[in-house]
Symmetry: C2
Subunit: 277 residues, 2 copies
């Protein structure tokens, strides 16, 4: 057995899978990309693709490629029943899981458990494999948060943690003490755009992202990348605070460069310390 | 002194002030309407109007009309500094309050305190004067919530209470266990419209409104009326649950009729019981 076995990447939408691939390449780790049909970006270079209900096909791929570790990464819209098209094993798995009344987190946990049980792979987090994808602690840009932004960050984290503990959302926008918007399932970019239109006078305004306290870190860690900065610039806010160690920082150099160019700050904050305050 | 003194109504935007006026008329209570310039609906029949910074003018009106009780009612956008145009007393009051970094609730409390101190009136809640404006308990429509909606209502109230305790928002939309959206400052109608676009398969979907646990009930109680039902119908959700006793139910007959016509439920729930669960 190799020291670092071939990594399976089960890819949903967005740039996160591509990012993981480039880290694999840089580290010369072999990988095998399985695109989720109708979810992964169409220009993702994949080795195979499967429908969302194709557990049988996935099992076969895992066996043929001798995959023992797999990362599930990227955005997955909840499919319609018509889209599921389960194969034989898929029907069995779906019957076992049930698809009713589950929050997104619960569903992801059940699906990954089923993949582990049926396909004989371990589902791991992208950050378990590549620590460098995680957001580091500290001010990552030329400018840092001023006093007002620091207060807003504190308020934002408090709000997001509270929402997160109820399995609702991972982000909020705060301007001069006023919470302009909180995220549920619309996604951070949509939240930032909306909050931009509700902005008050007086300047400032920050975006906060942090993981749900109880969430399984193998799935759906908060993600930041160039598009996050684009949204913040477009909405006219001044910075971004993310939980360090529990968020994926995509295209880090490019993102920080864009932030510096716009005079926006990015800061990674350790939540354990914050909670202790 | 009269048993029921003339009621001052300091009117912001929306239909709430008009509603209170019609209740006054029905009860033959005399009233005096002071429209907030740039905030109150332009077609509101008012007895006087004042700018947001015109504390001196307001004081004069209160004295001339012998107002001892006043209700502040209706939507007030936070004004720009240019819009404030304070008069002499206004400058004094604004300097005392300060306008920085206050959440909306804090600002309202400070402003009403200043009005009470400077103008010699008591600021009361609309519902203190007219109990019939409050939402009653129970199912108010022909149909009530089914089992799934009951679960969603429970989840929604939990989320909104948690947000409310952080002085963030008063509403959420839940569908089959999934929180589609939570309100910050965008207003419930905007929340419902947004959540409608994020709706999943499977039907259902309910809107929950409740007051912030710690809020001063004289201001900004959650409000429902015909437009709330319009929004719910348009978004394709099945019902509305509101906190009974701590929300204003505007144009009740018309609203219930619209809900019945659309097959939507409205239910008033007592929060004290819910909290005890």
């Amino acid at each position: 057995m190799e020291a670092t076995p071939k990594l399976g990447i089960l890819a949903g939408g967005g740039s996160a899978p591509r990012e993981l691939i480039s880290v694999c390449r840089a580290q010369k780790r072999s990988f095998f990309i399985i695109a989720l049909e109708g979810q992964a970006d169409t220009d993702l270079m994949c080795d195979a693709s499967i429908g969302l209900g194709a557990f049988g096909k996935l099992k076969k791929i895992c066996q043929q490629e001798r995959l023992s570790e797999m990362v599930m990464l990227g955005r997955v819209r909840r499919p319609s029943v018509a889209e599921l098209k389960p194969d034989f094993l898929g029907i069995k798995v779906i019957a076992k899981i049930g698809l009713n009344s589950l929050g997104d987190d619960g569903l992801l946990r059940s699906v990954s458990k089923a993949i582990e049980d049926e396909c004989g792979v371990s589902i791991v987090g992208a950050h378990d494999v590549f620590k460098e994808l995680l957001t580091p602690e500290g001010v990552l840009t030329k400018v840092g948060p001023d006093r007002q932004s620091q207060k807003d960050i504190k308020r934002g984290f408090k709000v997001v943690r509270s929402l997160g503990s109820l399995d609702v959302g991972q982000a909020a926008v705060v301007q001069r003490g006023l919470v302009l918007g909180v995220e549920a399932i619309e996604g951070t970019d949509a939240l930032i755009a909306r909050a931009g239109e509700l902005k008050r006078e007086g300047g400032g305004g920050i975006v906060v992202k942090c993981a749900k306290p109880q969430q399984d870190d193998r799935f759906d860690l908060p993600t930041l990348g160039p598009s996050t900065i684009d949204c913040i610039v477009h909405a006219g806010f001044v910075g971004l605070a993310v939980e360090s160690g529990r968020s994926l920082f995509l295209e880090r150099e490019k993102t920080i460069e864009a932030a510096n160019k716009a005079g926006i700050f990015i800061v990674g904050l350790c939540m354990e310390e914050k909670d202790g305050e």
